[in-house]
Symmetry: C2
Subunit: 572 residues, 2 copies
């Protein structure tokens, strides 16, 4: 029934219901094996089937905001046979991908882009004089993001009609927060019977949109009926369709635990080793240090901060999926002498780049950025890898950047940060494995983990220290003496130690893009030295989905590659 592209339009309602069951089972089976987004996808089965029943994809275009809910769409558009490769290296992505299918018209991954993209696509349609429908499906969690408002604001300006479907399930990864959410709740509480009356009151009408809702998005017949009606209207008017879906629908455990089952073994919605250390250390510090405030953007549990939020609600702020706003709130808090810790995934920190530059760093304010899921983050792919932060952070004046070699050093860095009076970023990966021996931690100072006179390997972060130590040992067996340096501060560099490195060969290792990263700072430092430097880092391309270890190896950072390079070159 799922082979090829099923002809939904020829199916009876009974067959469609049976299809929904099959889709749901396929999603559950696959996600249980491969990991992935479970609850959000289960909630969207009926609505997606209704969309495919009513509209003509790929001629019509649908954009799934963030993309956490596109599995049914993938299964209905010719990818069911490859669906068991979901999130595997070389397999089907967990997010919409134009490269994968003409049914995916726009790649998503970060929240709030769907309406802007839909407006762009609809505008292009109108400029070209073509005839198709453009639909944005957006969750209530994304609805907090400022892009949505910017897009609303220009609906009348751009003047190309689209359908916006609010898939309201009360949740981001955590329950949705904020006034817009409360407002959606209020609309819901009013009930469908008041639709006529409500029409003249909704916030959406203020933006020149027609509001229609709410409806039960898990009711297949109702969704088909509604979409058929709307299809007649959306070429002459932009419409917001507000539907309620149940996150985890059809799988009781998910329905009851939508937060825990947002992502399954994807690691992205659970606290990791480093996140847990962040949470426990910050909670402990906050007890005696009343200046400490924790700020998140809709990711509190996976950042390890649930306990902090419970224990110090008056000093805990979750602003929803608003990374830019969170950064400015932190800057405001810091101007008044508080110590904000803004915990955020590396990839989402990109959303606050300007605010980190202008609001935090140009004012030189003591905000600590706890940059989680830095480096390769794995199976979510291109839009979720954290391979750019060392590059986009190190270009910012006044910012100190720390990279712990293990969770123990991370804890020491956090403790030391309380008395550090400037902007600080601490970046750490998804996974933590072991605790290394080392010299006592000193703020701003690197440490030598191993001596050696032929080659200096300078590595930052746990994954790279691990590779450096093993490669050094292999080279040693080959008669080449390698020193290994833990570059735990990427900026400023420990110039004292750099100046003391008298090895002719320098090798740098980092879990980051080559361009603008740690290695490039070292290249620049030694640009007039005549030293021979080799940088191991990720090449200048977007890194797709796969496991962390597969991807690090795929991009050439392996014990073998590093030791081979050293043995080949230092022997010359």
């Amino acid at each position: 029934m799922l082979d090829g592209i099923p002809d939904l339009k020829s199916m009876s309602m009974e067959q469609l219901h049976s299809l929904c069951d099959k889709l749901r089972n396929k999603i559950i089976d696959t996600v249980m094996k491969n990991g992935g987004h479970l609850s959000s996808n289960l909630g969207m089965v009926e609505l997606t089937v209704a969309l495919h029943y009513v509209f003509d994809f790929p001629k019509d275009k649908v954009i799934y905001d963030v993309g956490h809910q596109c599995y049914t769409h993938k299964l209905l558009s010719g990818r069911a046979d490859k669906f068991d490769t979901l999130r595997k290296l070389g397999g089907i992505s967990g997010f919409p991908k134009r490269e994968e299918s003409e049914y995916d018209c726009y790649n998503t991954g970060h929240a709030g882009t769907s309406i802007s993209a839909a407006l762009g696509i609809a505008k292009a349609r109108d400029i070209k004089g073509e005839d198709f429908n453009v639909i944005a499906v957006i969750g209530d969690g994304s609805f907090n993001n400022g892009l949505v408002y910017e897009a609303f604001n220009s609906v009348s300006q751009i003047n190309s009609n689209i359908l916006i479907i609010i898939n309201d399930n009360h949740m981001s990864i955590t329950p949705t927060v904020g006034s817009m959410h409360e407002y959606l709740e209020k609309l819901t509480a009013d009930g469908e019977q008041n639709a006529k009356k409500r029409r003249h009151e909704t916030i959406f009408e203020r933006f020149g949109l027609v509001y229609d809702g709410y409806y039960d998005g898990n009711n297949l017949e109702l969704m088909i009926d509604k979409l058929q009606q709307i299809k007649q209207k959306i070429r002459t008017q932009s419409i917001i369709l507000h539907v309620k879906t149940i996150k985890g629908k059809g799988y009781l455990y998910c329905e009851e635990n939508p937060q825990e089952t947002h992502g399954i073994s994807a690691g992205n919605s659970k606290a990791t080793e480093y996140s847990s250390v962040l949470g426990s250390t910050l909670t402990q510090m906050a007890e005696s240090d009343k200046r400490i405030v924790a700020v998140t953007a809709a990711m509190t549990p996976s950042l390890g901060l649930s306990e902090f939020f419970q224990k110090y609600p008056e000093r805990a702020i979750d602003v929803g999926i608003c990374e830019s706003h969170a950064a400015v709130v932190c800057a405001g808090l810091a101007t008044e002498g508080l110590k904000p810790y803004y915990a955020v995934y590396s990839t989402f920190l990109q959303r606050a780049f300007d605010q980190v530059v202008v609001d935090i760093c140009s004012q030189n304010l003591p905000v600590t950025l706890c940059v989680d899921r830095a480096g390769i983050s794995g199976s979510d792919g291109e839009t979720h890898q954290g391979e750019f932060d060392l590059s986009f952070l190190s270009l910012i004046p006044n910012l100190t950047i720390a990279v712990p070699k293990d969770i123990s050093e991370f804890r020491q860095m956090l403790l030391a940060s309380a008395n550090f009076d400037g902007p600080l970023a601490i970046r750490y990966p998804k996974d933590g494995f072991k605790i290394y021996d080392g010299e006592p931690f000193k703020f701003g100072k690197w440490e030598k983990l191993r001596g050696g006179s032929d080659v200096a390997i300078i590595a930052c972060g746990e994954r790279m220290i691990n590779i450096a130590l093993s490669a050094a040992q292999i080279a040693c067996e080959d008669g080449i003496d390698c020193c290994v340096v833990n570059a735990r501060f990427v900026k400023p560099n420990d110039t004292h130690m750099l100046d003391a490195l008298n090895q002719k060969y320098i090798v740098t290792l980092e879990d980051n893009a080559l361009i603008g990263g740690f290695g490039s700072l070292i290249d620049m430092y030694f640009s007039r030295s005549g030293k021979i430097i080799k940088n191991f880092a990720y090449p200048d391309e977007f890194i797709p989905h796969g496991s962390v270890s597969e991807l690090i190896a795929k991009y050439g950072i392996s014990i073998k590659n590093v030791s081979d390079y050293i043995i080949k070159n230092a022997h010359r």
Copy 2:
């Protein structure tokens, strides 16, 4: 009357009116001499005097969004005697600056941050158990920005009360666009007499704010009265006060030409040499190439695109001050085969960093970013310099970065871009001086402007080419043969030419920060070559206000410094 900090609270209404006249004259005199923001500041005189009359600064805190309207505040807070140094190197900044006065509690420059910052400051106040008022003053232009919505959305979550004053003058730099603006207009049209009725309808109430307005913000008595009433309430409730002001108030020419007089001889609200070439070339290209769309974020005239917008309104989109949204709209347009040109100031492109990474470049879409006011932009200071774009753009995979050596080459790049099928950024400075001789332009290829076997100077952009050619000539007189290369593509580098450079000494010149910039790419390229490389670029600090030439020299990039370095080193 303006000496020291005038004691407004002891003044009669007559004296206050006379003060307003003096302030207005002082602003006009100074801006006419020094350049600066004129109309926006003239409109804010009465409101600012009323704020200082009613509130207790610096104990109370006021944040001016963007900061285009803070001159009266500066004049009333002890900076009148130094006001003639406005925007001069080492003088008073045109924007709020904490470093300058305790009356400036938060630095601004980019739109939309004031409410988020005010919430952060108010939250800090409440955490510390202190007692003061926090006020955000925001123009209707900034009101389009998504940060405002994100802040509204968390007002109830953060739960610390503030006063938001909407200073509604119908204008960004250009007339404000978008639905929120239309909504504000509608509120205004309703008139004050309907306030009671309107209360229950405003969009702001949906966000849990109390709306009070609108009122005439140029009526001093009314403003004092209103603010005194509000002062009694804002510790228990967040309030939005909507006032109308006249941009340019009190200076007839400004009132009639608010767009032209937004910035005076600041160059930032007028089309420059490069901007004019963008406008004329793109308008010409669009005639035959129906795929071309121009997109701006509230800066159309100063980007040189007024003619394009007039001639092709159906292919021209100004989304208001929404840089992120604009980037996503461009990505959407490009997925449908159109060729969007997104013109934006370098500093404001920081606002769209994530969208350039994820939406444009990870989808490898043919969007052309026309990055105006790149490099040092001058008298607006830290928040407006364009010294970071080569760094934050070159780290992005798939993006090609071009830097024309003059307006003629810029035009050729634009013409060539029409057939370039990928993301492209062309960055250019505020000023253009001359047209250089050179080899015929080839896409992706550098050119040698001068041969020489001892030293290779690789320069990018007009300002740097100019310095390179002069320095080479001086070195030549000293017997050192310098080749000069126009690195008109910063990424990818022209590796063919790089490989052919057999000089031992390499010098790079760029109008950008050192870290992560063009020079760092060259250092990395030659990191295993043993060449001796010197990078001239801006040091790792924020660059304050001053003239372009003063600042470039201040940061060590001068003909003398470059030629001195070459002569000193290449002779060894």
